[in-house]
């Protein structure tokens, strides 16, 4: 293999591909990045066996070939180089990649490319087409609610449902549920319902930051995989096996109190309250009081630490229904309010121990359900 490319391109490609490098693996080749010439370009690949990424960068190929080299060492070295041309040559006998850039040189020992697991790339352009900003927003609004702990594997994933002209994503960790849908330009080829690891989606959101063209999402249920195809990047992820809980059952159909507040003000009040709440089981109490004839309602955001002190913020609110006092985990409120882009948000509640529903005002596509905290008295 003999190939040259620009330092900026290689650094960028490595930053993308290395998102899939295995961090703790018993298989040494998985901590490497595969570099292979591919029809006049250089392909960088990495996989941790759950997620695989292929990334193509522009290069001048003089001689075809492939090698895997330690991802961390290669990335650190390339990132330190000046923005100039890098010449790379593989010494096949020793499986060593030699790199030259300006006055810098390195020889990096690799592992034979034959030992690298094959990352399948779909050639056909099937699946659905998604605008990158919409896909990224969906992922941001849903994936944070997925479980981090592995005790119930299905909850570490995001449910993706395709039906009619709609893609719906849902995630729940046992204490909250986030659901977001989007309308597609064309009807889906066939209905599908799969669970995608939340981490895979978060990587899609991250590596598609510069993407301008629509992203194709292709579900291959028979292979238990999902593909995201971007202009120069392919990401493939294993699906999570199992049945996702029936989330539609969880979203309450009615409410007793509906409170509308300014999203940014509510978020700020929650952030301030969480300084006091972090010492007190992260409890934030909301006292909601309707005003006269639907005017002058109020939401009071409160946190109290026995040792440290307390805090209270009063927010103007449009309150419909009965007064209520309800407590939530500060972290949960903080996270959901951070992903709402509309200026106003509605909180629907029924009782201090019943789920709260959070919706952006004027946006039907997103709904979040959060369980309150029970405070013994």
């Amino acid at each position: 293999m003999k190939v040259s490319c620009l330092q900026e391109n290689l650094a960028k490609g490595l930053a993308i591909a290395s998102r899939a490098v295995a961090t703790r693996s018993t298989l040494p080749v998985l901590s490497n990045i595969l570099m292979a010439t591919d029809e006049g370009r250089l392909k960088l690949s990495a996989t941790n066996l759950e997620i695989g990424i292929n990334c193509w960068i522009g290069a001048k190929v003089e001689e075809d070939g492939a090698i895997t080299v330690p991802a961390r060492l290669l990335t650190d070295f390339v990132n330190s180089l000046p923005p100039e041309r890098i010449d790379m040559q593989l010494v096949t006998r020793t499986q060593t990649l030699s790199l030259k850039c300006a006055n810098y040189e390195a020889n990096i020992k690799g592992i034979d490319a034959q030992e690298f697991p094959l990352i399948v790339a779909l050639s056909e352009d099937t699946g659905i087409s998604l605008e990158p900003p919409i896909l990224r927003e969906m992922i941001n609004q849903v994936s944070f609610a997925a479980a981090l702990d592995e005790s119930r594997p299905v909850l570490t994933g995001v449910l993706a449902e395709l039906s009619g002209t709609r893609l719906t994503m849902a995630a729940a960790d046992g204490f909250r549920l986030s659901v977001r849908y989007t309308e597609l330009a064309d009807p889906v080829p066939e209905p599908a319902s799969v669970i995608i690891p939340a981490r895979a989606l978060q990587e899609v959101a991250r590596i598609s930051a510069d993407e301008e063209n629509p992203i194709r999402m292709i579900i291959a249920p028979h292979r238990s995989q999902v593909f995201f195809r971007m202009t120069n990047i392919d990401l493939v992820s294993q699906l999570v096996e199992g049945n996702f809980p029936d989330y539609k059952q969880i979203v309450p159909k009615s409410y007793i109190t509906r409170t509308i507040v300014d999203t940014a003000e509510f978020l700020k009040a929650v952030k301030i309250a969480s300084f006091f709440a972090r010492d007190a089981a992260n409890i934030i109490r909301l006292r909601i009081a309707p005003g006269e004839a639907g005017l002058g309602g109020q939401m009071t955001v409160m946190a109290t630490s026995v040792e440290l002190g307390d805090n209270l913020t009063e927010l103007d609110a449009a309150v419909e229904g009965e007064p209520i006092e309800i407590a939530f985990n500060a972290k949960y409120l903080n996270e959901v309010l951070s992903v709402i882009t509309k200026p106003q948000v509605a909180l629907e509640t029924s009782a201090p121990s019943s789920p709260g529903v959070i919706r952006p005002v004027g946006d039907e596509t997103f709904v979040h359900v959060v369980m309150p905290m029970h405070i013994a008295r």
Partner: protein
């Protein structure tokens, strides 16, 4: 509060009844007065000394010592196995006397209390005078000897009463706290346990004064995040108020077996019983626990503790027991023998995150509360787990 600068020094009295259980036994049976008396469990069942009269202490007997050892030291001692109701009733009468002097009264245990008598001079005279009168009244009205310490804070008052024992009264004037503590051995200081004391000895630190003089860095290496607090204590500085009930941070139970236990099912039964007791206490206080701690002592006295932190705090027997028995199973090896088993919960709090799916939990919670109600109405034994019934026959 500004006890440090001495602008408003507080007056705190620590009252500690001398050899309380043994003294009550003397009152119940005057014929044994003055004899060496040991109150404690059955030596054949590995009981320990709960209290020893000063006559018994002269033989080297002290509380928490195994009964068998105590009786070797003092074979002719009068042994009593305890009259709990009598102790409780005498304790109540002592506290009633103390309560006449100040509402700022903090009972620490059955035989110990702090009083804040700041500003009571107009009514009862100077603090030393109040202390003398209290000691006199406990002796003349109830016949119980006590020792008292008077100082500007709880820390120093407690050390003073301990030094005054028996039947003593020691006053540490405001401003002399550090000088008073300085010559005392470091073991006298709150927060210095056996292990820390050994470590300090190895560094040549024997007295509280030497500890107070240690540079900050060395304090940090020994006490970690508690370094600043320990430095303050070594100087006799303590701002903790009297009468404010400290919120407990953990509760625990333990059981020493009459004979070493080699059967995991017996241990599990004790764990279930202790889980039931701990969970009941949590629910009574409206608290939930975040961490479950298992303690085991082997025949060679090696003691281990193992802990697990739950994803969500709990007040349910079933959850505490499930964690406890999982911890036990992880430690359990064939042929193992256990001398003592203990179970505790920490990370107590009053809030619980409700769950989206787990519909089974609220049912269990409702059941537990129903059981609590039956017990509060008809007594602890009115309703029991079938698996614990067998236990009684043994």
């Amino acid at each position: 509060m500004n006890s440090r600068t001495g602008i408003h020094p507080r007056s705190v009295i620590h009252v500690d009844l001398d050899a309380f259980f043994a003294s009550v036994e003397e009152l119940l049976d005057p014929s044994i007065a003055g004899l060496p008396i040991i109150v404690g469990g059955d030596p054949a069942e590995r009981g320990v000394v709960a209290s020893a009269s000063y006559a018994a202490r002269a033989y080297g007997v002290h509380s928490a010592m195994p009964m068998a050892q105590a009786l070797r030291l003092c074979p002719h001692a009068v042994v009593r196995h305890g009259h709990r109701e009598a102790y409780a009733s005498y304790s109540q009468r002592v506290m009633a006397i103390l309560a006449e002097y100040t509402p700022l009264l903090e009972q620490v245990s059955i035989d110990e209390a702090f009083l804040d008598v700041t500003g009571c001079e107009q009514l009862f005279g100077p603090p030393a005078e109040i202390a003398r009168r209290i000691q006199q009244r406990i002796l003349s009205e109830l016949g119980l000897p006590s020792s008292l310490g008077v100082a500007s804070n709880k820390l120093v008052a407690k050390v003073a009463s301990t030094l005054a024992k028996p039947r003593g009264l020691l006053v540490v004037p405001s401003g002399e706290e550090a000088a008073f503590l300085a010559p005392l051995p470091i073991e006298r200081l709150w927060g210095v346990g056996k292990v820390t004391a050994e470590r300090l000895h190895s560094l040549g630190v024997q007295t509280i004064g030497q500890l107070a003089a240690l540079p900050e860095q060395q304090m940090k290496a020994i006490f970690g995040s508690a370094a600043a607090e320990m430095h303050r204590r070594a100087l006799g500085i303590d701002d903790s108020p009297v009468g404010v009930e400290m919120r407990r941070k953990s509760i625990s139970q333990e059981h020493t077996f009459p004979r070493d236990v080699a059967d995991i099912r017996t241990l599990q039964r004790y764990l279930l019983e202790m889980s039931e007791e701990l969970a009941g206490q949590l629910r009574k206080e409206g608290e939930c626990a975040r961490t479950v701690v298992l303690k085991m002592r082997y025949p060679d006295f090696k003691t281990i503790t193992r802990r697990v932190t739950l994803a969500q705090p709990t007040d349910l027997t079933e959850e505490i027991y499930a964690q406890a028995t999982a911890l036990l199973q992880r430690e359990w090896k064939k042929g193992m023998q256990v001398r003592l088993i203990g179970l505790g919960v920490t990370g107590l709090g009053q809030a619980r995150q409700l769950a989206l799916f787990e519909a089974s939990m609220p049912r269990l919670a409702k059941l537990s509360r129903a059981v609590d109600e039956i017990r509060s109405k008809y007594g602890e034994r009115a309703i029991r787990r079938a698996s614990l019934l067998k236990h009684d026959d043994e």
